[in-house]
Amino acid sequence: MIIGTAKETYPADEALLTTRPQRVWMVLLLAGLLVAPFALSNYWLYLACLALINVIAATGLNVLTGFTGQVSLGQAAFMAVGAYTVAYMERTLGTPFLLNIAAGGAIAAAIGLVVGLPSLRVKGLYLAIATIAASFILHFVFVNWTAVTNGNSGATVPPATFFGIELATYGRLYWVIMPFAVLMVTGAANLFRSRIGRAFIAIRDRDISAEVLGIPLLRYKLMSFAIASFYAGVAGGLWAYVFRVVTPESFPFLTSIFLLAAIIVGGMGTILGGILGAVFMTLTPEVLRVIVELASPFVPDAATLLSPVRTIVFGALIVGFLIFEPQGLAEIVARLRRFFRLWPFRN
């Protein structure tokens, strides 16, 4: 039994992983990520890639919404920016894979800076609505800037090549997407051990107080927007390599809601929450599909019910978690940890 975690030095207090079980779980998770491609079927590998991409995008949004308190309903639009950048560079310039992804992230971050500008004037709901507006305007650009985006018919992306290996199968793609996800999630976790991350949290908790404490609000708010958009851009770039065609409908407004739902369900303002939420929300439709398949002998036209049922469950998850478990899955995990730490006593 562990009673509390007594820390004697500042580095120990700031460490990413503080307890032994945490380290063990982390090693198990990494081992699982490494073994996955050998154990999973092609379809499940596709789902794994998709989940990891969503993890990246959701973690980015979590930095902005969960840690800085700037609600954004435009994350999907930044994913689209990244995807289009990658598509354009891959098709017309033929630049290498890593450069394309980095450029996707950078351009998304630059646009994120501009979209974040209203955060100077408005916050809360108004900012959320401003980001809705921005994402609709970006959608208009995707449809009409045909020279770059090829309009409604969409831009096709040739398969990525990485050191001469063509990344055409999900198994190979997994090996580039997984390290990206691990790297970017670790990066986000580390961000909150730094001055910048602490400034974000101060702004979230009370922006006026933060300003009084000498935190330049605009700079940090914009930085938060840029970081979130960078994550979205990278996620979108990877997405483009997985699906190999980008259209204006690839990243609908619903995707933004999906990502926000992912961090609500997972737990806002925790790195673990972004991961859990994104994986959970990616896999829920699959679970529903399995249930519908099992029910199909008994229910007529079960297949046609799948899409509406998914929509309802999606909404119900958002509402249910907000009402009954506002801290999300991360809180459930924390409760479990507390249970084992305190056992045999009750909390």
Binding site: V122, L125, F140, R310, L322
Partner: protein, 293 residues
């Protein structure tokens, strides 16, 4: 001359759809004014109202004059259920969480409609005659004219109610200061319920009118986003703002789609939204809230 006539016709059509925007915006304003909740599901509640009308009028074969009140009552019931089931438990939570609850609600409503009525667009049974209407020389679609008159009448009634009716005064009192309203004996939870019921009913009514003009489909809730622009520009807590903002945006959208092309409508609409947020974040007629540490 004919160019002017054409412009006049476009403007009148815009005013007609603008009246519907105003009516929808009114649902936002009512709910926001009383409960400080921006209900992003107004568009979906509007859609549900239109489907209620559809199933009563087309499914049961009843006349529009029975179906319309039933749809409006149905919308009110949905509002009541939502308020008691989802909004009341969230009282005191931060506004963003409640906003997200309504986003989830929108998704539930879309799914429910798809489950019961399918995803295909439908046409509402015609209950407004299609005989053309002429205002001077300008042609106006009769449906749009009817929508305009109904919306204008409803908004007029609301403006009067807020001014003179006890319930309206209670609502304004609750909006100004909940604690003070409580201590004056106003049933604040009752006002919350009433605002959601009336808001739901208004949205349902707007949905029937909108459906009569353009048909119904599970995606017609997007109309709610345009109405959201109206309330942001006009002020989230201003009925007058909803009225003027709706009419103005209706005309602007009509001009844009006629003279620039339909694809520009959303860009102009949301451009106006961003401009308004940058210039007057609390809207033209909204209350400017001052924040203190």
């Amino acid at each position: 001359m004919s160019e002017w006539l054409f412009f006049l016709e476009v403007t009148l059509a815009g005013l007609g759809s603008g009246a519907l925007l105003s009516l929808t915006a009114l649902a936002y304003v009512l709910i926001y004014k009383a409960t400080r909740v921006v209900n992003l599901a107004v568009g979906e509640m509007l859609m549900l109202g239109a489907y209620f009308f559809f199933s009563v009028a087309a499914g049961w074969g009843l006349t529009a004059w029975i179906a319309l009140p039933l749809a409006v009552i149905g919308g009110g019931l949905v509002g009541a259920v939502v308020e008691r089931g989802m909004i009341r438990p969230m009282l005191g939570e931060n506004p963003i969480s409640i906003f997200m609850v309504t986003v989830g609600l929108g998704s539930i409503l879309v799914g429910t409609v798809e489950l019961f009525w399918g995803t295909d667009p439908r046409a509402l049974p015609a209950f407004i005659s299609t005989k053309p209407l002429f205002l001077g020389e300008a042609y106006v679609s009769r449906k749009i004219a009817v929508a305009f008159v109904v919306a204008a009448a409803v908004i007029g009634v609301f403006l009067m109610l807020f001014r003179f009716w006890r319930g309206g005064v209670a609502l304004r009192a609750t909006a100004t200061d909940q604690a003070a309203a409580y201590s004056c004996g106003i049933n604040v939870p009752g006002v919350f319920s009433a605002a959601w019921i009336i808001g739901g009913a208004t949205a349902a009514g707007a949905g029937v009118l909108l459906g009569a003009i353009g048909g119904i489909s599970p995606s017609m809730g997007v109309f709610g986003l345009s109405a959201l622009v109206v309330v942001i520009v006009g002020g989230l807590d201003s009925v007058l703002g909803a009225l003027i903002g709706g009419l103005a945006l209706g005309m602007i959208q009509s001009w844009t789609s006629t003279y620039l092309g339909g694809e520009y409508t959303s860009v102009v609409t949301f451009g106006i939204l961003i401009l308004a947020l940058m210039l007057r974040p609390y809207g033209l007629f909204g209350t400017h809230e001052i924040e203190r540490l």
